[in-house]
Amino acid sequence: MKKIAILGGASCSGCDVALFDLPGDELERFFSEVEVVFWSTTMDSRIEDFEAQGKIDLVMFHGGIRTEEHRKLLIQAREKAEILVALGSCASFGGIPGIANLFELDAILKDIYGDEFTKLSGERIPKPEERLKPISSYVEVDYYLPGCPPPVETISEFLDHFILGSLPPRGIFGKESTVCDECDRIKPEDISIEEVKRIGSKDWSEIDPKVCFLAQGVVCLGAVTRGGCKARCINANFPCRGCMGPAPNIRDQGARILSEIASLLMKESEKNLSDEEIYERVQKEIVDPVGLFYRYTLPHYWGGSNEEDD
């Protein structure tokens, strides 16, 4: 029987919960063919049980690395795993908690708990790392299942392939397309925008749910984000925030959408603007560019690599 383990770092456990959103018969079939050797959310497995394990066929790790303990657990997981999976966007790119990398650790601890705590932390509770990092910063990852959480269909497809021994070559397990490709809103040929509209603002009531968000001046990351989610958010009339990570062939998801929006804003402008002027214009239109363009991926691009720190 194949052995599997599910563990996590700085996680909301949404990826854990998503596993139970699979159809009941599929879950029953899957769990009748594998032995779960560690999954503290659902069973009484202790760290020592995990340490006692030899090789484990599949280890799924959710959450980024925020504390020393997460790091140690991950390294053990890599040693034991035949196949190591980054489950969800936090493990893959750092995820939303990765926005904390905008702040120094000392400032975080001091602001939330006060001076006294900062001195003592790390003695009786796990020591936080300076920055949150995706798991690939520390170990080699075999498969990435991005998404916040990964779409149920993707998880289901992955587990099927695992059982059948028919997994594709290592890398991102997902679609080689963008969210835009999966979105069926009308996309005008020629787009230019005068101003950026915020969610829930006065202008929001003018939004046509049949037309491309970007064309209407609403920031949407669909064009730079990997597909596979069936454009669920957009279909709920909410723009894409990029949780599936960068689309194939896009190196920097945030930078790409930033330059895209800048150029759409500049289209009407007659003169050639300098980079600085463009940046100023974007700053004026967008209250929080980092939190919007790098919401799920900040540690992936910034402060996420060990080499840069060393």
Binding site: A10, C12, S13, G14, D16, V17, F20, D21, P23, G24, L27, E28, S32, V36, S40, T41, T42, M43, D44, R46, I47, E48, G63, R66, P97, I99, A100, L102, A107, I108, D111, I112, Y113, G114, E116, F117, S121, R124, I125, P126, P128, L132, P149, R198, I199, G200, S201, K202, D203, W204, S205, N235, A236, N237, F238, V287, D288, V290, G291, L292
Partner: protein
């Protein structure tokens, strides 16, 4: 030489934590027990600088078990901050989706995490149960999946929904979806009724001898005295069941204080009127509890018929207020019936289908906004302040597991004292019984450690020497 026993991590709950039990030098008496939340993510810090309009979409990631609670508490805070008047159909859609979420969260806890404790199983987990009783587990998973579908239809995504926007919702539902929701709700009402029997029985076994019994005050939202998950006023009743406070969400900080301990990433809230008196309980203590049991103790009645009948039966058997910690399980089961019945009722509303009245475009930034609701695990507060452009400058979150944290520590300590006294042999079975203490609360550490990122474990210390990790 003192001795320490460690349970690491504590299991079948949401997030990471450990329990450290300190024994005296003889190794026979429990000196202290720490329920330590060891997770750390710092939401309160990194939300500073974000666009307040995006907060509902950012803060849902505090917790994957109760993402809807954070999504909606957050949007309510922003509605409040902007002075938006959310149209009626939008309020109905939010509440409808939220009832589905109560089911999604409660059913996961009841059946996937807690139920194995009440059954004679060789291994206490759902996978073992799947082998012993596959049709039961299949039925549970199928019914729980209804709540997944309803959440997705209403909220866009089942986990980390997107539809609630400041001023309303981004979409309504179609007639086809409404019919599906109505059908599923009807089945969920029946399923909930069956579930109550299971968890009532489990609770009654502990009625005369609940090792985790302790008297506290209780807090919950009520709407005209009735249980409501989505809106209302906050009411506090004392250990005797007497109403001592009733206030609006914005006033929470006048009533609740918080202290920090250097051994946990979770804070310790208390009622200001009594003050913080350490991990003590009773009428003079400031410790209060939230969640299903608190809601039974605070509210006067249930809005829906079936739930009202069950509520009366609960009070008849358990009294009011009920201080038996194990009764959390029964109370939680009654709540899934209420949520199903309320969902059925809302699914018959005409104005939620293809509605145009789902968004209020007006509103001005007003500096501060507070939103509160009943999360599956208790009263949840989101409190934001912004600058003139709507950039967040201050965030305070009070989450249910944090509110219950002092009581969880007490329950675990009481359980440990009872189970480990007189030099009883310490084994996994005993430690599992200690864990039963916190499982009643359905603690969610991902939530409580919105500040830092916590994990749970149990450690048993003999003085400063670690003797056992479990």
């Amino acid at each position: 030489m003192k001795k320490m026993i460690k349970i690491d991590p504590v299991t079948r709950l949401e997030g990471e934590a450990k329990i450290s039990i300190f024994m005296d030098e003889s190794g026979k008496t429990v000196e202290d027990v720490l329920f330590q939340v060891t997770e750390f993510r710092a939401f309160e810090k990194f939300c500073i600088g974000r666009d307040v309009m995006e907060m509902p979409r950012i803060t849902s990631a505090i917790c994957g078990f109760c993402s809807w609670a954070h999504h909606l508490a957050s949007v309510k805070a922003v509605d409040n901050l902007l002075g938006k008047n959310v149209p009626e159909p939008a309020e109905k859609l939010r509440e409808l989706g939220y009832c589905a979420h109560i089911l999604h969260s409660h059913l996961a806890h009841m059946y996937l995490l807690a139920l194995p404790d009440f059954l004679q199983l060789k291994e206490k987990n759902v996978f073992h149960l799947m082998k012993e009783n596959p049709s039961l587990v299949r039925d549970i998973l199928e019914k729980r999946r209804y709540s997944y579908f309803i959440q997705e239809m209403v909220g866009g995504k089942a986990i980390h929904p997107v539809f609630a926007i400041p001023g309303g919702v981004s979409k309504s539902i179609s007639e086809k979806e409404r019919v599906k929701i109505e059908e599923m709700s009807r089945e969920l009402v029946d399923f909930s009724k069956k579930s109550i029997e299971v968890f009532m029985e489990a609770t009654l076994k502990f009625r005369e001898n609940d090792p985790y019994y302790h008297e506290t005050h209780y807090m919950s939202l009520v709407k005209n005295g009735k249980l409501n998950f989505y809106s209302g006023k906050i009411r506090v009743v004392n250990t005797e069941g007497k109403k001592i406070h009733e206030f609006s969400p914005e006033e929470y900080s006048d009533y609740i204080g918080e202290v920090v301990k250097d051994w946990s990433y979770t804070k310790f809230p208390y009622l200001r009127e009594m003050g913080w008196k350490g991990l003590t309980w009773g009428k003079e203590s400031g410790i209060f509890r939230v969640g299903p049991l608190a809601r039974m103790n605070v509210c006067e009645r249930m809005e829906t018929e079936g739930a009202q009948w069950e509520y009366e039966r609960f009070i008849e058997e358990m009294g009011k207020p009920c201080h038996n910690t194990m009764a959390f399980h029964w109370a939680r089961a009654i709540e899934i019936l209420y949520a199903s019945e309320k969902m059925l009722e809302l699914s018959r509303e005409e104005d939620i289908v293809d509605s145009k009245e789902i968004f209020d475009p007006d509103g001005e930034l007003r500096g501060r906004g507070v939103g509160a609701l009943e999360a599956p695990r208790g009263t949840l507060y989101h409190d934001y302040e912004v600058d003139e452009e709507g950039r967040v400058t201050f965030v305070n979150l009070i989450v249910p597991t944090t509110e219950n944290n002092p009581s969880i520590c007490i329950s675990v300590k009481k359980g440990a004292e009872e189970l480990l006294s007189n030099g009883k042999r310490i084994d996994r079975n005993i430690l599992n019984k200690i864990e039963v203490a916190f499982r009643a609360y359905d603690p969610c550490l991902a939530c409580s450690t919105h500040n830092l990122d916590q994990s749970i474990r149990v450690e048993i210390f003999h003085g400063s020497e670690l003797v056992k990790t479990l």
